[in-house]
Amino acid sequence: MNMSKIVRSAANLLFPFILVFGFYIVLHGHLTPGGGFQGGAVIATGFVLMFVAYSYDFITGRIGAESLHTTETIGLVLFIVTALVAIVFGVTFFTNWMLDVGPVLNNPVAFGPNPGDLNTAGFIPVMNLAVGIEVLGALSVIVLYMLSGTKEEI
């Protein structure tokens, strides 16, 4: 059952802006308030807005539960693999190994308030991205499963 045309038009209009805001929160997680979980929840809100506005058949014709589940699994695997790579460099599990290796994401940060540089903080941005896409897939697929459980009235 599609909702009314007003709801569908508003959802279409809001969807890209919600995605941009969510990815901004995820990618700037180590500089501004927010982080992986909050950004992923905001992106999932955008997806769930589309799920509520359109019918179940319309949604599953475009994005399936399998692909959302795969997104969640990719995020979780990226999270654990990034934490495990620390063992290769001779430090313990979950150590911030990117601070010791290479120039990537490794600029020094002055203590106190500063303008902020995206290329800092070791593996924290990678972890933010991993948790972000994991939360995005998990929360979306939960609502999609719940939508599949209700009876469709046409």
Binding site: M1, F51, M146
Partner: protein, 84 residues
């Protein structure tokens, strides 16, 4: 002074939204009132200087919980149709 007025307005709005949730007979109206309650709660978190919690509350409380309620209400019938 203006901060105190805004804070008091948000708190009064929270209580009004919470009373509206139990006052409405229509399920969809109650769900939307609950969404307004969650939004005002996230504003309150922001005023209390917890922006991380405010973003999480706005995403999960105001967005996902309301959507889950609406998905559940989709499986029911409107009150007026049952009476006839």
């Amino acid at each position: 002074m203006i901060e105190l007025v805004v804070h008091a307005a948000v708190l009064v709005g929270l209580i009004c939204a919470a009373l509206l949730v139990i006052h409405f007979r229509d399920l969809l109206s109650a769900a939307i009132a609950f969404g307004i309650f969650s939004f005002l709660l996230s504003l309150e978190f922001y005023i209390l200087q917890a922006p991380d919690v405010a973003i999480a509350e706005a995403g999960i409380g105001a967005g996902l919980t309301t959507a889950i309620f609406i998905v559940a209400i989709r499986g029911t019938r409107r009150m007026e149709e049952v009476k006839e």
